[in-house]
């Protein structure tokens, strides 16, 4: 080896070591955040963070399916009992009799602190007379049987006032004494983990624990099975999917490319050499991402396998050229141009607002540069002098005939493009997906399960939320009470169906004191009660339990968060009153009216006005759906702009190098046709296009231009030997690229399959169309 070779090898080895060192300390994450856009304003971002890290992310919804109703109920009860004893879970709800009884007892006992109708006026003789009169009337109604049991201790029916607070909620249905889906075919439980939702390891452990206990309590012949959903479950399963897919994709891509290389070069040494740029590119790419983002997302690793297919192209070109003497300067120029156009495509990704796409950009840009550098600077020194290649004459003759045949169909790309364009113009509505879920790495089936479990639980869909912040918990609760009064008025006017507030189960201390103060002392209350029931069909003496309960509440300590432990009220407070580093955040989920001029929708402007009128202008009402749709739209237009710029950059590079409009257009035409056909095919297959397809199309232009370019520069007017070389290396390189992207297209992760299938089909069509549209004379002048 000559001196420059030694220097190159040393530099390469040193860089490799440096990369290995960086990668060794790199953290690989696999949560969902990378492919969720950031929220536009800081305040909304905070809100979303709370959703991600707060209690919502700690909920696990569990469904028990199969078997019969009795067995499902038994399993749910047993599972609930054992999970309640488990340290990993803060709360476990399944609607079992034990918990409902505890809840009922709690609310009944605390009714005078919780009921919104407790005022000094209600406890005057007149007020009591009215309230008791209503209760007696109520005894005749449908709730009579229940009211009868409460009447003697609760003649003013405060329990009913409390029930009405929650009347807008749909409680889960019940089957066999536990919560169940509406059709009764699935028992359901709602768990809250102790660990934060972002702690994927802890979430995985919690999920494993549920599976384990379920395995213990289920009857082997009962036929039951368990399903789960929730943010934590999604994180765990998406991490598992990503890890598995990275492994499978990496192995499959390597096998594919190695097989191809071996087939052509029949030399293990050349195969290993061919993999040198690939491995170097991957290591450098991961290191670069790690250094610039602080971590590497699992999806970046999975996507990175496509780099295998591209990085190996350069080696393929090099070996092919080398097998017939030293590669010409012209060859290197063409490779350089190819690298530049690819870089133009990937560089655009680096500017993306999606953290995940930006990672892919950095990874690919660095990877490609390194692959090209290693191919140019190192491989020539390591290559044997004579490369004994498989005789490709037969293959080339076959290709000649094939290309000659396809060239007869040179009109095909044009016709197809016209058809594709027509289709797109005709179907132009609904081409774009505005749903964030399209980017969700979680499978469609899992997302459907999530929706179905949510529906079963009657969980609020959390589309509309009013939120406020306050320096401490008590002032947060007081402010929430003010907002509740405004929201209550909106409910009365039909603008809202209902809302939830932490103050429904934990009023502020000042309101609790106010209610306590409204309760008269025993002698006074007894006297007023006597006057109130005068002439009524019930005697005051029978109501002694009422006097006792009122007096007990007057003396009792106020409710605190701790006194809610063990009831479902605790979960409500924890999810809606969130303690943060510097302040407290209150979330008030709103439910849209089912009927009215705009069913299922809330006029947030009208609500804002109400709040402003009440002097509560710092309360934010957001519609998360329209908020995220708007963000999504802005990202889509960002992607379109960036892709446009990328395509322009590619065009400029081509023109700068080819210095002829005619040739530039000739290189670009097959690309444009390929892009149009891929888009039309996706739309016709019922795929809604996302930002990822846009990115995929950009890569078709960036990567596909290499093939069109080689076709133009490497084929036209070149001697037959050289043409054959170019031709077979083009086909090989294209096969390896389309193959690795194609593998990615088979991925079950939507993000990867969208890009993969788009690029695989697109690059293949690019080559095919380039061959079809290649100028005839270029091949015939020597034939």
């Amino acid at each position: 080896m000559k001196r420059p070779g030694v220097i190159a090898l040393t530099a390469w080895l040193l860089s490799l070591c440096a990369c290995a060192l960086v990668i060794w300390r790199t953290q690989v994450v696999a949560d969902l955040s990378a492919f969720m856009p950031q929220m536009p304003t800081a305040r909304q971002q905070l809100l979303m963070d709370q959703f991600k890290d707060g209690i919502i992310a700690r909920l696990i919804m569990v469904g028990i399916e199969g078997g019969d109703e009795a067995e499902r109920a038994r399993v749910s009860t047993e599972l609930g009992r054992k999970l309640r004893q488990d340290e990993a879970f803060l709360t476990v709800q399944n609607g079992d009799a034990e918990t409902s009884a505890r809840d009922q007892a709690h609310f009944f006992e605390q009714r005078y602190l919780l009921s919104p109708s407790v005022t000094a006026e209600r406890f005057t003789a007149d007020g009591l007379h009215r309230a008791i009169g209503h209760s007696i009337e109520g005894l005749s109604g449908s709730a009579g049987l229940m009211l009868k049991q409460l009447f003697l201790r609760d003649p003013t029916a405060e329990t009913l006032s409390l029930l009405e607070l929650f009347a807008g909620d749909s409680q889960p249905a019940s089957a066999g004494g536990v919560w169940a889906s509406k059709d009764g075919k699935r028992a359901i439980l709602l768990l809250q983990t102790r660990a934060a939702g972002a702690d994927t390891d802890a979430q995985a452990a919690a999920i494993a624990r549920i599976h384990q206990i379920f395995g213990e309590v289920r009857h082997p012949d009962g036929g039951t099975r368990v399903v789960m959903s929730g943010t934590g479950v999604f994180s765990v399963s998406s991490r598992a999917i990503i890890e598995r897919e990275v492994e499978v994709l990496a192995t499959a891509s390597m096998v594919l490319v190695a097989g191809l290389l071996l087939l052509v070069y029949r030399s293990v040494w050349l195969l290993l050499l061919g993999l040198v740029p690939v491995v170097s590119a991957a290591l450098a790419g991961v290191s670069a991402v790690s250094l610039s983002f602080g971590h590497v997302h699992g999806l970046t690793l999975a996507f990175g396998t496509t780099l295998v297919g591209e990085a190996v192209d350069y080696a393929i070109f090099l070996f092919m050229q080398h097998s017939s003497g030293q590669p010409s300067e012209r060859f290197w120029r063409t490779v350089r141009l190819g690298v530049m156009t690819s870089l133009a495509g990937f560089a655009v990704l680096m500017a993306s607002g999606f953290p995940g796409l930006a990672q892919l950009g950095v990874y690919s840009v660095v990877g490609l540069i390194v692959a090209a550098l290693v191919t140019r600077g190192l491989l020539p020194h390591l290559m044997p002098r004579d490369i004994a290649m498989r005789d490709l004459t037969g293959f080339n003759h076959f290709l000649d005939r094939l290309f000659a045949t396809v060239r007869r169909g040179r009109a095909v790309p044009v016709v197809l493009s016209a058809l594709a364009l027509g289709t797109l113009l005709w179907l132009h509505d609904g081409i774009w997906s505005r749903q964030l879920s399209a980017l969700n790495p979680v499978s469609k089936a899992d997302q459907a399960l999530d929706v179905s479990l949510r529906g079963d639980l009657g969980a609020p869909d959390m589309r509309y939320i009013a939120s406020l912040t306050a320096p401490d918990a008590q002032s947060a609760l007081r402010r929430a009470e003010e907002v509740s009064r405004v929201l209550q008025a909106a409910v009365r006017d039909g603008e809202l169906a209902s809302f939830k507030s932490p103050t429904m189960v934990l009023p502020s201390e000042s309101l609790q004191r106010e209610r306590q103060a409204a309760l008269p002392e025993p002698a006074v209350l007894g006297e007023r009660l006597g006057q109130a029931v005068h002439g009524a069909p019930v005697k005051a003496e029978r109501l002694s339990g009422f006097l006792e309960d009122v007096e007990r509440t007057r003396q009792a300590p106020l409710l605190t968060r701790a006194s809610l432990d063990g009831t479902s009220a605790a979960m409500l407070v924890d999810s809606l009153l969130i303690r943060r580093a510097r302040d407290h955040l209150v979330l008030l989920p709103l439910k849209a009216p089912i009927q009215g001029p705009h069913p299922e929708e809330i006029d947030t402007d009208a609500l804002d006005q109400r709040l402003r009128a009440a002097g509560l202008s710092d309360v934010t009402v957001i519609d998360i759906l329209s908020e995220t749709s708007a963000v999504f739209d802005s990202y889509l237009s960002e992607a379109l702009t960036l892709s446009g710029l990328g395509a322009l950059a590619v065009t400029a590079l081509l023109f700068g190098s080819l210095r002829s409009w005619q040739r530039t257009v000739r290189v670009l035409l097959p690309l444009a046709a390929a892009v149009l056909c891929v888009v039309a095919a996706l739309v016709l297959l019922g795929q809604q296009l996302t930002i990822l397809h846009v990115v995929g199309l950009l890569l078709v232009v960036a990567v596909g231009s290499n093939y069109a370019l080689f076709f133009d520069v490497g084929m036209t007017g070149r001697p037959k030997v050289e043409r054959h070389r170019t031709q077979s290396s083009l086909v090989l390189a294209n096969l390896s690229t389309a193959g690795t992207y194609g593998l990615l297209g088979l991925s079950s992760i939507p993000v990867l399959s969208a890009i993969g299938s788009t690029v695989a089909v697109g690059t293949f069509l690019s080559l095919l169309f380039a061959a079809m549209m290649a100028p005839e004379h270029g091949l015939e002048d020597e034939a």
Partner: protein, 197 residues
């Protein structure tokens, strides 16, 4: 239905032929025949007055209003006095409405005790013997134009609340529904039929 009637006709012919004639006919009147009569009653509208006798109340609590039944499973109870209320039952879904309050929807499909309650009235009005016998053992006394049907709950969860349901009527008209509750309280609902327009 037609074939059953045909069957009855044959039965009658056979009885006459065997010289057993009328007495045997009257003996044959039982729960199936009552149910058949009720089932033929079809949809109906009626007024009701209900009295609830509650232990701690010095006098019964009274209410009145309208009942309507649309075969096979829609039941509507509209209370007008003393406190307006509309309770509707579609299949297993119970909807309660009170003026000025939010509608309450209860899904009773998964609650056998609640379903037992509902089936006692609806099953009787619809003449659905199978539905009634799922939850109750039936005892019938009297004759077609003055019958007394007693429903005794078969299951403990129901017996804890209601020990006995008594119904009285003539032909397809149910005139009284009375619940005897486990705590000693009871309720009586008297029903007068509104003639079909």
């Amino acid at each position: 239905m037609r074939s059953e009637r045909l069957g009855l006709a044959w039965h009658w012919v056979a009885c006459v032929a065997l010289g057993l004639a009328w007495p045997a006919w009257s003996h044959a009147w039982g729960v199936p025949e009552l149910m058949q009569t009720l089932a033929q009653g079809g949809s109906a509208k009626a007024r009701f007055t209900e009295k609830k006798f509650i232990g701690f109340m010095d006098q019964p609590v009274e209410s009145s209003g309208e009942l309507s039944f649309t075969a096979p499973d829609r039941l509507e109870k509209r209370t007008l006095q003393p406190k307006p209320e509309l309770v509707r039952l579609f299949g297993t879904r119970l909807i309660i409405e009170q003026p000025g309050k939010r509608q309450m929807v209860l899904e009773l499909g998964g609650r056998p005790d609640a379903m037992a309650f509902i089936e006692s009235i609806r099953g009787t009005l619809a003449g659905d013997q199978e539905a009634l016998e799922r939850y109750y053992t039936l005892e019938l006394k009297g004759r077609a134009d003055a019958w007394q049907l007693t429903l005794l709950p078969r299951f403990d969860n129901m017996r804890k609340v209601v020990t006995r349901i008594r119904m009285e009527g003539n032909q397809a008209h149910v005139a009284l529904v009375a619940f005897d509750q486990a705590d000693g309280d009871r309720s009586e609902m008297r029903i007068t039929r509104v003639p079909a327009p």
